[in-house]
């Protein structure tokens, strides 16, 4: 029995270790290629969004795969983080000159605001059972979109000014509007870097792996597997659900801030229902609860539409078909059996030799 547990532990930590290694190797290879000027501009420009989407997929996987709750509004948390982070970075433009410091502060602020939103959504909803979280997060995403579409924020020497629905801000000398309702933030200064994105992914992985492998993590997974059994042994349902959900929201907020600060302009309608579903697709394709799967799926599906540009008008059709194919192939028992058999044969022949 004891032996068994030890074996299982080593297996998860080996997977975790390989996940870290995969991210590090990918970063080192891409970064050195980028420094050597070997990357095409098209891929070069996508490095930061890829990091943001990977982090988003990891964050959502914590909710969907580990906690076992469906969130259809994770783009909402991304949006909160994106706008909070970008407004903060813009307001600090003169106060904090060093870009990496400004970026780090913006990420933390983005994460904090998204966590706050996560708490507000979670308090009433996580006490309920069933599919309520899916519905409420769906509504949450739409509400956030509406709020930001009606929010005006400007900055001048006296500090930040905000107004809602109508732009009634009077700015002093040297003032400027940061967020103009439906126009979003048209003047984002790009400060996100690939290195920052890599660090964010690593931090996300550390947070998620440590949470999952902790006592709390086991409680969370027990809730996922059988809520009644978990409750009967004294696990506080709401507390552990909140823990996972708010962590997930905070990470999504940080990803949003990284994404926004890697763009020239962001508008609220970017973070719509489709965006939430896109991230859910990353998670489902990569495998629920499988972090390395989410990383690969998010990176691949972000790059894929750009690689398919030569198909011109058929591009999105090909994209959809590739998606269906991958889903079918990865879940096909015949093929799985075939590959497993192949792997076993290779192992056997290795042993024989």
């Amino acid at each position: 029995m004891k032996n068994n547990r030890k074996l299982r532990l080593t297996k998860t930590s080996r997977t975790n270790f390989l996940t870290y290694l995969m991210v590090i190797v990918a970063f080192v290879v891409l970064n050195s290629m980028s420094n050597a000027g070997m990357l095409k501009s098209a891929l070069q420009g996508q490095l930061v969004p890829i990091c943001a989407y990977v982090t988003m997929a990891l964050a959502l996987n914590l909710t969907v795969g580990v906690l076992g709750e469906l969130s259809l509004g994770h783009a909402g948390f991304m949006s909160v983080g994106a706008f909070a982070g970008a407004v903060a970075a813009s307001a600090m433009r003169d106060a904090v000159a060093a870009e990496p410091v400004r970026l780090a502060i913006a990420l933390v602020i983005g994460a904090a605001f998204a966590a706050l939103a996560g708490v507000l959504v979670g308090i009433p909803v996580l006490r309920l059972n069933g599919d309520y979280l899916a519905i409420v997060t769906l509504a949450f995403g739409e509400i956030i979109k509406s709020i930001i579409n009606n929010l005006y924020i400007g900055v001048d020497a006296r500090g930040l000014h905000a107004s809602f629905v109508q732009n009634t801000i009077a700015l002093g000398d040297g003032g400027r509007m940061i967020l103009s309702g439906p126009m979003g933030i048209p003047g984002v200064t790009k400060i996100s870097t690939f290195t920052a994105g890599f660090i964010l992914i690593m931090v996300t992985l550390v947070v998620i792996f440590n949470l999952v492998n902790s006592r709390s993590g086991r409680a969370i997974m027990a809730l996922r597997d059988n809520r009644i059994a978990a409750e009967s042994v004294g696990i506080n349902v709401t507390k552990y659900k909140m823990m996972a959900f708010v962590t997930s929201a905070a990470l999504a907020g940080a990803a949003g801030a990284l994404f926004a600060l890697g763009q020239n302009t962001i508008i609220a309608s970017k973070f719509d229902f489709n965006q939430s579903i896109l991230i859910l697709v990353f998670v489902v394709l990569g495998g629920q609860g499988r972090m390395w799967g989410s990383i690969i799926a998010a990176a691949a599906l972000t790059v894929l539409p750009e690689l398919l540009r030569e198909f011109a008008d058929y591009r999105m059709l090909v994209y959809a078909i590739v998606l269906i194919l991958v889903m079918l192939l990865t879940n096909n028992p015949t093929l799985k059996g075939f590959f497993e058999g192949l792997a076993a044969k290779v192992k056997k022949s290795e042993k024989g030799a």
Binding site: G45, G187, E306
Partner: protein, 407 residues
Amino acid sequence: MKKMIALLLALVMVFALVACGAKTETTETTETTEETATATAYKLGGVGPLTGGAAIYGNAAVNGAKIAVDEINALGGDIQFELNYQDDAHDAEKSVNAYNTLKDWGMQLFLGSVTSAPGVATSVEAQADNMFYLTPSASSTDVLGGVANPLTGTVDIERKANVFQLCFMDPNQGSASAQYIADKDLGENIAIIYKNDDVYSTGIYNSFIAKAEELGLNIVSTTTFTTDSQTDFSVQIADAKDNGADLVFLPMYYDAASLILTQANAIGYAPTFFGVDGMDGILTVEGFDTALAEGVILLTPFSADAEDEATVNFVTTYEAQFGETPNQFAADAYDCVYAIYAALQQAGATVDMTASELCDLLVATFTGGEFSYDGLTGAGMTWDETGAVTKAPKGMIIENGVYVGLD
């Protein structure tokens, strides 16, 4: 077994598509080699929504630009163009990807983005690369930068020196509309319905109310809608009607406007409707009773029914090639290509120049004060350091299903 069949079918589809894609690709390359046979061509790139909800604008722009490029190449002069449009699905993030793809292709001159939000994103990239940027229809002030916000009076974005617009800037349209309504005394009580999650609509609205206040226009009703709610306008129309508005200002695209006209008619409300250039195209909406558009006034730089030779030629070619009537996006893109063509000639540019050298040359030509261009969307267009175009808006009224000049 069923699954295997499904898989097989999917595989067959992919291969069929790959074959199709490859085929179109080869024809494209042969086309370009033919074009480049006479002289090496300038690589002209553009980004627009070729798929998704805004695809009608992007495709119209591509078609318009294509006609201009074909015409110029047929002249066989020193200046030849090779055109490449990439899809951005009306998304700022994808537009930057599209721009980068064009850069990898070796683009020398950039026709910018077709729509506003992506236009803001690509203009920043083009500024960083010093790539000449002339957009046919991204009308937001944030594309150019350096324009004061009509509500707060602050300059929120610095001027991007190499970015120019061929269309009217949103604030110009809003203030021109208010001015026009006041000058012609078109309405006593004015209602406004605008789309408050749209850059274009909000931009025009903001400058309209700023100007209306200045002119003392009486605004009795202001209502909004969003992308998600643009199918039912009963609340907005009822509000305008109850407040006794005799003129309704509709700063929006024609798809939403056509629904407003239909629904206003259904409750027997018939004020004067006043639109801006996005209203152009309302007569071509499928299933829309054009009788409802009788008496609608719009400010637009282009009218497909104009009788001058250039417009007639363009409309005939467009209809023959694409089977539909061109809208202002097509005309704007057509003008963009010709404006660049004229500027290249005047500046004496050569095709072996880099994008950055061409950019410096064209910016100097555009802002030099001696460059002027006559096109479909206006005669004697000029540009200055602000990047905005100077041309006269035309007031049109719809009578018997065609535009008639109001002046």
